[in-house]
């Protein structure tokens, strides 16, 4: 059983919701990303989605675009992302890491090289925003034998026929996109999300985690109460944008930056 599945199973058994923060690797620099990852776990993160910075993040809103730009100004490469995971894993053997990003950096590295590096450093899953499942045959051949989970997005616009193929291609969890738009926009139709997730439940036993548009404890409680948990990206990356590059972030700085995650953790703790 993969580290992600173990984590999900344990949370389910305890009737707790999963909390998955997203941050861009190398934003504002590599050392701070590593420190932030440990701080996130201390603040109650169950899984971490680590963003691979890309020059053209066309599914992301301004906040995460700027995060990627900061990381790229630092010269962060996919090799650096792997290195961050390696260092994190040396001190945390249990928190799963999902590498999330756009296809081109992975394609240029090569699927085999990517998958073997991801396995070697102790990453647990991969989520490629702009790669639909039916284009993934070669990628699956590289990542599946190495035990990496493949997470896919489900959107409000996803058709019934695609749902079946996405469910069949997904392992670990399903990432339900709460809105039509880019990361960091506002959720407008909670009723629709609820019915779509209920429908998804009839098709898969995978945990369904909601992301895009969750920015505080209230929106997290809204979404977590109708799903298995939440992914929080822009709200965290926005807090990270206030950290200074290059300097050593103090424990107070780190705690202030991950405060949004801590407050969401405590808010979703009592949802049954």
């Amino acid at each position: 059983m993969s580290r992600i599945s173990q984590t999900m199973a344990a949370l389910r058994a305890a009737k707790r919701k999963v909390l998955i923060p997203y941050l861009v690797a190398g934003d504002p620099d590599k050392g701070t990303t590593l420190a932030l990852m440990h701080a996130l776990v201390a603040a109650g993160a169950d899984i971490i989605e680590l963003g691979i910075p890309f020059s053209d993040p066309s599914s992301d809103g301004t906040v995460i675009q700027l995060g990627a730009e900061r990381a790229l100004r630092e010269g962060t490469t996919l090799h650096d992302v792997m290195d961050i995971v390696r260092q994190f894993r040396a001190h945390d053997a249990t928190t799963p890491i999902v590498l999330m990003g756009y296809l081109n950096p992975i394609e240029i590295m090569g699927y085999e090289a990517f998958a073997s590096a991801a396995q070697a450093v102790g990453a647990d899953g991969v989520l490629i925003v702009d790669m639909p499942a039916y284009e993934c045959a070669e990628l699956f051949d590289a990542v599946r034998p190495r035990g990496l989970d493949t997470v896919f997005l489900v959107a409000p616009t996803t058709t019934q026929s695609r749902l079946a193929s996405i469910c069949a291609s997904s392992t670990g969890y399903l990432y339900y996109v709460s809105l039509k738009g880019v990361t960091g926009a506002a959720i407008t139709d909670k009723g629709d999300i609820k019915s779509k997730i209920e429908h998804l439940r009839t098709m898969t036993d995978l945990p369904v985690v909601v992301g895009f548009g969750i920015k505080d404890a209230a929106s997290a409680v809204d979404m977590a109460s109708i799903s298995d948990g939440v992914i929080v990206g822009s709200a965290l990356v926005d807090a990270i944008s206030r950290l200074h590059r290059g300097g050593v972030a103090t424990p107070d700085d780190l705690a202030a930056t991950v405060a949004v995650i801590a407050s969401i953790r405590s808010a979703i703790e009592n949802i049954k």
Binding site: S58, E107, I108, M131, A155, V177
Partner: protein, 413 residues
């Protein structure tokens, strides 16, 4: 001009290697649908609608009517006699897309796509633009059909192409400055994709070139193929034979694929796609992914890209805003690999020189994009015997570029 027959645009067959893409939009290993999940349903719907419409003669008849009475087609095939005499080789013939309404080939595509938007009941269209030609062509057709039109344009390009910005505004479009990334065409495309994902219910995205997720590369090619169909027929009428060589500039590659596609089966017709060589391929400061890039994935398709070793998209350099793009249409990527089309580059200096000599010798001021094709095409003609015919696609007129060229001359207009 004759309409496209349905079998020319539906599906690939083993018997006809050039009738691609396949059902998932692949030309060989290139193309595909690499977009976020939110947009997948939209491109699948578009594919379905387009496939249905492409099978209807009345759809093509309506487009042909617009091309004739609104755009002013057919565009002439013009023998450039002084240019031919000057270079002393093959006959140099220009396909005059610059004479179309709005001054470039871009309108051939927006007419077709706007008709689809209307048919799909979308009241709003969005477009990305580099030089502003596609933005103008989109604003034009939006005005005519009474559609709301928002055009994304890199802040850097807005500075370079202020006349086109004003033209779009005159026709009622909103021009939205894109400040992200390198603030050029690729960033305008990113921003348009973000808008589309957000407003997918009421918005149709008119991509201006033969790139992007399937079905755009196929659709734009089909709409632009009127260039090649006319050129074929006109060449037969004028010369009683097909040309020996076709030359077109390639940014995303829509005017080139439009000219080339109807000739792909004609093995005696050689083809040259001319990329933006910028300061020279050896300097790395250019926009020539087919000549000096590598395959990757950007903006919905797998194709040749200007990408660094870490997989980041590189900034491109060209004197022409319309060629300043790090990718290229996937069908060109495939045509390069199979060797059917030769892809070459012309530098900024060569293009500027062509801009000047075409103006002086023929009284035609070409777009800087098209000047790349002129530069290479004339060089090619000079090396060929006098009984050969070289057709160069003059994809747009140069009025929009006079500020740029004057600036290079140190003159303020």
């Amino acid at each position: 001009m004759s309409t496209v027959k349905p079998e020319q645009v539906v599906g690939a067959t083993a018997a006809d290697p050039f009738s691609g893409p396949d059902a998932h939009g692949h030309f060989g290993r290139y193309g595909g649908v690499f977009v976020g999940e939110t947009l997948i349903a939209a491109v699948e719907e578009l594919d379905k609608v387009y496939t249905t419409m492409a099978g209807k003669p009345e759809f093509w008849a309506e487009i042909d009517r617009d091309l004739k009475f609104y755009v002013g087609r057919p565009s002439p095939l013009y023998v450039a006699e002084r240019l031919t005499a000057h270079f002393g080789g093959a006959k140099i013939v220009l396909k005059r897309e610059d004479l179309n309404h709005t001054g470039a080939h871009k309108i051939n595509n927006t007419i077709g796509q706007a008709l689809l938007a209307k048919f799909m009941g979308k009241p709003r269209i969005i477009a990305e633009t580099g030089a502003g030609q596609h933005g103008v062509a989109s604003a034009t057709i939006a005005a005519r059909l009474g559609l709301q039109c928002d055009v994304y344009m890199g802040a850097e390009d807005i500075k370079r192409q202020s006349a086109n910005v004003y033209r779009m505004k005159l026709m009622g479009a909103r021009v939205i400055a894109v400040e992200s990334g390198s603030r050029t065409l690729k960033d305008a495309l990113n921003e348009a994709l973000r808008d589309w994902a957000t407003n997918v219910d009421n918005t149709y995205y008119i991509i201006g070139t033969a790139a992007g997720p399937h079905p755009y590369p196929r659709m734009v090619r089909d709409f632009q193929s009127v260039i090649g169909r006319e050129a074929r027929q006109q060449s037969m009428e004028l010369f009683r034979r097909l040309p020996d060589a076709l030359v077109a500039c390639v940014g995303g590659g829509s005017n080139a694929i439009g000219l080339f596609h109807p000739f792909l089966h004609d093995t005696d017709v050689s083809m040259y796609g001319v990329e933006a060589g910028g300061d020279g391929l050896e300097t790395g400061r250019h926009a020539a992914p087919l000549s000096a890039g590598r395959p990757g994935v950007l903006h919905g398709n797998r194709t040749y890209l200007m990408t660094d070793a870490a997989g980041q998209i590189m900034e491109t350099h060209s004197v022409s805003a319309g060629l300043d793009y790090p990718g290229v249409g996937p069908e060109h990527a495939w045509l390069k690999d199979i060797g059917r089309v030769n892809y070459v580059a012309a530098t900024d200096t060569e293009a500027l020189e062509a801009f000047r000599y075409l103006s002086r010798m023929e009284g035609i001021i070409p777009a800087l994009e098209s000047a790349h094709a002129i530069a290479y095409g004339c060089k090619l003609a000079a090396q060929l015997p006098k009984d050969r015919i070289v057709v160069i696609n003059l994809s747009g007129r140069g009025d929009k570029d006079i500020h740029t060229v004057a600036g290079i001359d140190g003159i303020e207009i």
